[in-house]
Assembly symmetry: C2
Homo-oligomer: 318 residues x 2
């Protein structure tokens, strides 16, 4: 109901009479007033003037499910949204929802995370109301070995969204870090729940620095605010990310992975460079020559041998 009331108020810059809203939504004037009060508590600045009605002055800088859904227009991604003011980790909550049969496309959003996770068990710093911290549940019918394409797809989708909403040239460092001007803006973490050869569901975690000022960023990290000099509407960025993921995900199903790999190659800053790769198992060095259609990095070592690398940390050598 509150979403419907907001949609009414957002249609115009003028006052809307309480009578018009309550008649149209078939609720009493008293019920309408209670909803308006509740919206105000959520941070919506709504003017109420006798004989004129209600007017929305400003919306809070919050990733409320109702705000995300309004005008989103997707069929799968973001149809079910769980929003939290704070969570330990959106990954854990999404994993639990996945086990409880949550729909494909369900997303878990938190304004802050106390135990945000990055790849390989690292922390992800998630200051409140500054970034986008999101986990997305997908149920692709592909074997676990083909899952890295979903990480590439997400990276490409995020770059496309940052390009179109913020006019930023976003790049990808293998496997899935988002860079702008050689400084890290975000990362992607893909976890899966599977029966041996059959994926039950995948949770794709996205962490992006949006309106972080310098002091809420780790040294060397970037944010949209830092890069553009102004704060951006996180809702618009998030909506565009969800739209791009949906479009690419549906295309992946119909067309196969080639367009994703191509989009990834275009935006990557790793290929053609000399890199060091560290994983739990080994440290190897060589020239990053290409990626496979399954997302593995092909590394030409000094011995001349080409090695496929599926996981690890990349250091770009000078």
């Amino acid at each position: 109901m509150q979403t419907k009331i907001l949609n009414f108020l957002k249609k115009t810059d003028e006052y809307v009479s309480g009578e018009e809203i309550s008649n149209s939504l078939k609720i009493s004037r008293q019920a309408l007033w209670k909803h308006i009060e509740s919206l105000r508590e959520d941070g919506y600045d709504i003017l109420a003037v006798p004989h004129l009605g209600y007017k929305l002055v400003s919306s809070p800088d919050r990733l409320f499910a109702s705000e995300i859904k309004s005008g989103l227009g997707t069929k799968i991604i973001g149809k079910h949204i769980y929003y939290f003011d704070s969570l330990d980790s959106t990954m854990d909550t999404a994993m639990q929802l996945g086990i409880k049969s949550a729909h494909e496309g369900t997303i878990v959003l938190a304004e802050a995370q106390s135990k945000g996770r990055g790849r390989m068990g690292r922390d992800w710093v998630s200051p409140k109301y500054k970034g986008i911290y999101l986990s997305l549940i997908l149920r692709p019918q592909i074997p676990p070995s083909q899952l890295p394409i979903l990480t590439l797809l997400t990276a490409v989708s995020i770059c496309e969204a940052l390009e179109s909403v913020c006019s930023l040239e976003a790049k990808i460092k293998w496997p899935n870090d988002i860079f702008i001007n050689n400084k890290k803006l975000g990362g992607i973490l893909t976890e899966l729940n599977a029966e041996m050869d059959e994926v039950r569901f995948v949770v794709i975690g996205i962490g992006l620095n949006i309106n972080n000022d310098k002091k809420s960023l780790l040294p060397g990290a970037n944010s949209v605010l830092l890069e553009k000099g102004e704060a951006f509407d996180r809702i618009r960025i998030l909506q565009q990310i969800l739209k791009r993921i949906e479009e690419n995900y549906l295309l992946l199903k119909s067309r196969g992975p080639d367009f994703i790999v191509k989009g990834w190659r275009q935006r990557n800053i790793t290929l053609g460079r000399r890199v060091k790769i560290s994983s739990h198992k080994e440290h190897i060095e060589g020239e990053a020559i290409d990626i496979d259609s399954d997302g593995a990095l092909l590394l030409r070592k000094d011995s001349g041998i080409t090695q496929r690398v599926t996981a690890g940390d990349v250091t770009h050598c000078r």
Copy 2:
């Protein structure tokens, strides 16, 4: 405390004085009485005779954590036990515990499951107090591709336990069904939670028909009761399974997988036979010639080509 009281009573067939117990455990006679009452509510038949004391006449047929732990002697497997009278599925509960950082070796037991799962999304019928329905959390440091060895290990461990406790000759149908006299006694389901190339944890589900009479079994299924003509102590069987899994798991870490594959081959009823294999993807037929050290079945098709099969349903052809 109740475990300690039980241990006191189990030491002897005679009466134990309340004074002796309460002094030794440093609790009041009144507190002792309350614990005895609570044990009786759990189904322990405990006699109380003035001036003589307490005597344990019988224990209930329940897989209480305290009973499982008593005399178990393992270091990892079963150190943490979650026991439920009934659950939707021990797999789901174990998955949720795994996400919440449950220790390696944690087990989830239920006397009944309303939505017990088998492989490939099938149901597993779990009548109350009849079988062993268990999920075990492991945190092995191996890539997802090497996980099938854990399923083989579990199958071998279960066979070893049934052999030693029930003197039953248990066999394995690829990949992980437990058979006795060509009738299915149980199954194993392995699910994983992983970050791309790195397993976070594995949940191994075990479902075994122990004291099922004919009417609590599906047609063609077997149970220990049916096979031996008498009910068996589920606790002893379960303890032995946990002990065997622990011993084999520790050996796997130090010695590698060969002894597991050998033990599996010795007990298998699939190799050397003509089989049909059905999976979501395909149906293939041929002779099952061997398994790999990673648990994949090698199938020689009529064309002469050998195909590796990692998942699917096997039908043994006549």
